[in-house]
């Protein structure tokens, strides 16, 4: 026999149910003010997030990320100078050096977590957001959305930046270090990327998608009318 659902709580203003993803407690949704989060009453997990941003700002941040990502990959992160000899470290030649030393798996780990997966994540977000901005829905939106969520924990640019700082502090004792252009663009990239990630609300994203979907449906019906 199925247990009966509890009656709507006095504080709840909606009859929509939601289950906590950490403890599976069923509870009623409440309306949120902007910049607020709804927490699970039992385990304190964030159930869903209120609106923090709009599509335009999100798209702007992601376009910024794409430009900064390109810059961070093109220029050297740091230049080491010993007795007039310069050695440059870019993101990609770091991967290559490790690969050449016979550590292909370590090289692959750095390549994936610092270049490929962050790049793919930014590309996927642009693929989803640009058509929404133009009033359309990108084909395969559900699959791309799930890909973004799956990739996100594996893009570790902010940890790489901390690694750069640790390395630079470590090597200043032995040689003179010149910070490269990429170091600054990387710092800006982390700021943009973190802003975008902390402002992104899954619920808002699907509202944008569903709104466009409804508008398209109405247009199709209008066109089909004689």
């Amino acid at each position: 026999m199925q247990p009966t659902l509890p009656p709507a709580m006095p504080g709840a203003r909606s009859a929509r149910l939601i289950a906590c993803r950490d403890c599976d407690l069923l509870q009623y949704e409440v309306e949120l003010e902007n910049h607020a989060d709804a927490h699970c009453v039992r385990c304190d997990n964030i159930l869903y997030r209120g609106t923090r941003t709009n599509l335009n700002l999100m798209l702007a941040l992601m376009l910024g990320c794409a430009v900064l990502m390109a810059a961070s990959n093109l220029f050297p992160i740091a230049i080491l100078e010993v007795q007039g000899v310069h050695v440059e470290a870019t993101l990609f030649n770091t991967v290559l050096t490790v690969y050449d030393q016979g550590r292909p798996l370590v090289a692959a780990l750095v390549l994936l977590t610092c270049i490929l997966l962050p790049g793919l994540e930014i590309a996927c977000m642009l693929y989803l957001l640009l058509p929404l901005y133009l009033g359309r829905i990108a084909p395969g939106t559900p699959a791309v959305f799930r890909l973004v969520l799956a990739i996100h924990p594996w893009s570790m640019m902010e940890i790489f930046l901390l690694g750069v700082l640790v390395t630079l502090v470590k090597l200043t004792d032995f040689a003179s270090i010149i910070p490269g252009v990429s170091l600054w663009s990387f710092c800006a990239l982390i700021v943009f990327f973190t802003m975008a990630a902390s402002a992104f609300s899954v619920r808002d994203f699907w509202e944008w998608v569903e709104l466009r979907g409804a508008v398209q449906d109405v247009q199709e019906i209008k066109e089909s009318l004689p």
């Binding site: 199925q2 247990p3 659902l5 509890p6 709580m9 006095p10 504080g11 709840a12 149910l17 939601i18 289950a19 993803r21 950490d22 403890c23 599976d24 407690l25 069923l26 009623y28 003010e33 607020a36 709804a38 699970c40 009453v41 039992r42 385990c43 304190d44 159930l47 209120g50 740091a78 080491l80 010993v82 050695v87 470290a89 770091t94 991967v95 050096t97 030393q101 550590r103 798996l105 370590v106 780990l109 559900p142 699959a143 959305f145 799930r146 969520l149 924990p153 570790m156 940890i159 790489f160 901390l162 690694g163 750069v164 640790v166 390395t167 470590k170 090597l171 270090i177 899954v202 699907w206």
Partner: protein
């Protein structure tokens, strides 16, 4: 802002779980849908596979966790950085690298690397072991704290990658010439594997199992 104030629920004896009502929330987009009788239910909004609980959570997490324990040994014994000069050869393990920072007076850096490379992986291994054992013993104690612990290890796990990046950047920048060389050691591979495997282990663990065992009789 809470979904419902905490004191309103303390008088409520039932703690209804979605599973008890034949419902499941989508792991990707959070949408709640009814689990049909058939096995391959998909979320109507984002088409992700629906599971009331992560499939084979306990056995998969144990497998990954044991692998991580095994890899943890070479990760700490084998050198992560090897430097060879004409006459001398030096190799640094994770711990000796930290000690080197400490001795040269970079205490902040030593502390940072110590936390990222020693404290975080060990905390993850022990915490996941404890969570698995407590779930299997159907423990009812402190489900809230255990869930918090799970969220913490899920959040901090990725920061252990720090040492891998430091090693990769060091070998790139320090190219002393043909007489001496500095190279990535085999320990780096084992350590990178520990980080990836523990991240996967945290991902396959299902914190809802903590609450299934704790049941409805929670204070």
């Amino acid at each position: 802002m809470r979904a419902v104030a905490r004191d309103q629920l303390s008088s409520e004896p039932v703690m209804p779980s979605a599973l008890a009502h034949g419902l499941a929330s989508c792991h990707a987009c959070g949408m709640l849908s009814r689990l049909g009788g058939h096995e391959h239910a998909h979320c109507p909004r984002c088409h992700a596979r629906l599971h009331a609980r992560k499939p084979d959570s306990i056995s998969r997490t144990w497998a990954l966790l044991i692998l991580a324990y095994i890899l943890y040994i070479p990760a700490n014994i084998l050198p992560i950085l090897e430097s060879r000069a004409l006459l001398t050869a030096e190799s640094n393990t994770i711990m000796s690298g930290i000690l080197m920072f400490w001795e040269t007076g970079s205490w902040m850096i030593a502390g940072l690397v110590f936390i990222a490379s020693i404290v975080v992986p060990l905390t993850k291994l022990f915490a996941l072991t404890w969570l698995l054992v407590s779930v299997q013993l159907r423990s009812r104690s402190r489900p809230y704290q255990r869930t918090q612990l799970y969220r913490m290890i899920d959040f901090i796990g990725r920061w252990s990658m720090l040492d891998i990046y430091v090693v990769a950047l060091t070998v790139t920048l320090v190219q002393v010439g043909s007489l001496a060389s500095i190279q990535v050691g085999s320990g780096a591979l084992a350590f990178g594997a520990v980080v990836v495997v523990t991240m996967l282990a945290a991902h396959t663990f299902d914190p809802r199992l903590i609450w299934d065992a704790a049941g409805t009789q929670h204070d």
